[in-house]
């Protein structure tokens, strides 16, 4: 079974019934293998028309660090790069003793200014905390990582966690949905965005982006970093001349693709993982 097929087989609906602010599904959910462009020489998978958001849990391999991370793949709030920016990212985190959760949030038209993707993200972080005992997770070590539009979603939940964007449904919605850390890869929608205002409780944040990103300008990272700094939030930012967009966690000869090693060192300094 392929990684994507496995994901779809083991996914859990995040809402018990119909999601809040549900839109009529324009089309059935569709999975497409994309070969134009290839990323690091390989194809990737896009899912579109998601009306039933789900999460898939990858338990830690080896020693459990107690930390967990929810992954928000990108796709311009139109689709979800489910393997490139989802399952492959979880393979990396779970190999480092972390519980990893891929969120297949609703698309299209569910962000950056619509509420649905944020609702799905808030719900999922609360759900992960409500399963902490069962999944052997430390409730104070639940972070998020996002790519492109998913990185915007990570910034959105990092600045909108004090109240839920939807009426609470069950006990999971009484858990905090504040991420304990946030990792943003090649974020978009953060320049001149009045909705994204860091608070002093916004979690420590890691940013990485390339100057030659043809989709989301590096100004997105710079603007968010400056706003985090003004709010007194600890932030780390790595900007590279070359790298483009949408490289996920697939290593190439470009140094930016080695960002996971920088994240690994960073997670130690913010106390999420141990030396």
């Amino acid at each position: 079974m392929s990684a994507v097929a496995l994901l779809l087989a083991t996914s859990i609906a995040i809402w018990p019934g119909s999601p809040p602010d549900a839109q009529p599904a324009a089309a059935p959910e569709q999975t497409t293998v994309v070969t134009q462009p290839l990323v690091a020489g390989r194809s990737w998978t896009a899912i579109t028309s998601v009306s039933r958001p789900t999460m898939t849990v990858y338990p830690p391999k080896g020693k459990n660090s107690g930390a967990a991370v929810v992954v928000f793949p990108g796709g311009a709030y139109h689709g979800i790069a489910i393997d490139l920016e989802g399952t492959e990212v979880c393979e990396w985190f779970s190999a480092r003793g972390m519980t990893c959760v891929v969120l297949k949030y609703r698309v299209p038209g569910t962000g950056p200014h619509a509420p649905q993707a944020l609702e799905d993200a808030q719900r999922t972080v609360g759900l992960v905390r409500s399963h902490a005992a069962e999944w052997h997770i430390d409730n104070h070590k639940v972070g998020v990582i996002g790519f492109s539009a998913g990185a915007h979603l990570a910034a959105n939940i990092s600045t909108h966690f004090e109240t839920r964007s939807y009426p609470p449904i069950d006990a999971a919605d009484r858990e905090s949905c504040r991420p304990d850390f946030a990792v943003l890869l090649y974020p978009g929608y953060l320049v001149n965005n009045p909705d994204i205002r860091p608070l002093k409780e916004t979690p420590p944040t890691f940013l990485a982006q390339a100057e030659d990103d043809p989709v989301a300008d590096v100004d997105n990272s710079i603007a968010y970093f400056a706003a985090l700094k003004s709010a007194g939030v600890a932030a780390e930012m790595h900007l590279y001349a070359h790298g483009g967009h949408g490289f996920g966690a697939r290593p190439t000869s470009l140094p930016i693709t080695h960002w996971p090693a920088l994240v690994e060192a960073w997670l130690k300094t913010i106390g999420i993982s141990q030396e």
Partner: protein, 273 residues
């Protein structure tokens, strides 16, 4: 002989006679600083430098042909000659590169013109003597710390014209560095002679900048402003900003990830043309 002793022994004067714009300073001195330990160790402060020199360390192992000129920091008042000089050269030479430690003139005038002259002269000299020093004249970069980072930026913006009257054939060579590295650069250490908008051009070399948000000496804000100007001018630049790390850590590794910056430079050097 300790490291500093060896260093002082092998210095080459960069000017044949009196340097341009020379002014009298006190007697050159080197002091061991024991009250601000870095990674638990002392470091050496040199001041009153009126005769600028270079010290050339050949690469260990295979010679890549790359040379890095190191500008130590010290607020243009002195030079942290080991912490941000000879120890950096140990790293440079262990990676197959020639290291050139520049002991530039300090204390400097308000615009630090003497330091810029010394830096320009050094790059020209190295290109002129490239064959003798076994370096590739197209792979001569600079790395500077704190005020030395200011000097990296200043030289990267002022290479079209010498800031002094040419002395000899070395001053006919280009003094544009092929790449520049600014570690906790003190971009506000001295005022530049114009705004970044006027000084930053697409002809500038690729640059890499590293700094910590909690740097108590030089603000990361200046680095962000500089980077933004570079980006607007399409100068290929890489910037690594960390929450923690402070100032003046040199190449001494601690628990802070920022102190692993040499590994980022190593990768970066493979990607620039």
């Amino acid at each position: 002989m300790n490291l500093v002793g060896i260093l002082l022994a092998a210095q080459i004067a960069i000017w044949p006679g009196t340097p341009p714009d020379a002014k009298p300073v006190g007697t050159e001195s080197a002091v061991t600083v024991k009250d601000h330990l870095v990674a638990g160790r002392t470091w050496t402060w040199v001041t009153n430098v009126s005769q600028p020199t270079i010290t050339i360390d050949p690469p260990k192992g295979k010679n890549s042909g790359i040379a890095i000129v190191v500008f130590p920091g010290g607020g243009y008042e002195g030079l942290a000659i080991d912490l941000e000089g000879s120890e950096v050269c140990d790293w440079v030479t262990s990676h197959g590169m020639t290291c050139v430690l520049l002991k530039y003139r300090v204390p400097c005038s308000p615009q630090a013109k003497e330091a810029l002259q010394d830096a320009q002269r050094t790059i020209g000299l190295l290109r002129h003597r490239a064959a003798a020093y076994r370096i590739n004249p197209h792979k001569i970069g600079v790395a500077g710390f704190s005020a030395g980072g200011h000097l990296v930026a200043n030289l990267s913006m002022h290479f079209e014209k010498r800031a002094y009257a040419p002395v000899d054939a070395a001053d006919i060579e280009s003094c544009r560095p092929d790449f520049g590295i600014g570690v906790y650069p003190g971009l506000a250490a001295r005022r530049f002679d114009a705004s970044f908008a006027d000084l930053v051009t697409p002809r500038m070399p690729p640059l890499l900048l590293v700094q910590a948000e909690d740097d108590p000496v030089d603000s990361v804000n200046d680095t962000l402003i500089f980077y933004t100007a570079l980006q607007k001018a399409h100068v290929p630049a890489e910037m690594h900003l960390y929450a923690h790390g402070g100032h003046a850590f040199g190449v001494r590794p601690t628990n802070f990830p920022i102190t692993r910056w040499p590994a980022l430079v190593e990768e970066w050097l493979r990607t620039i043309p």
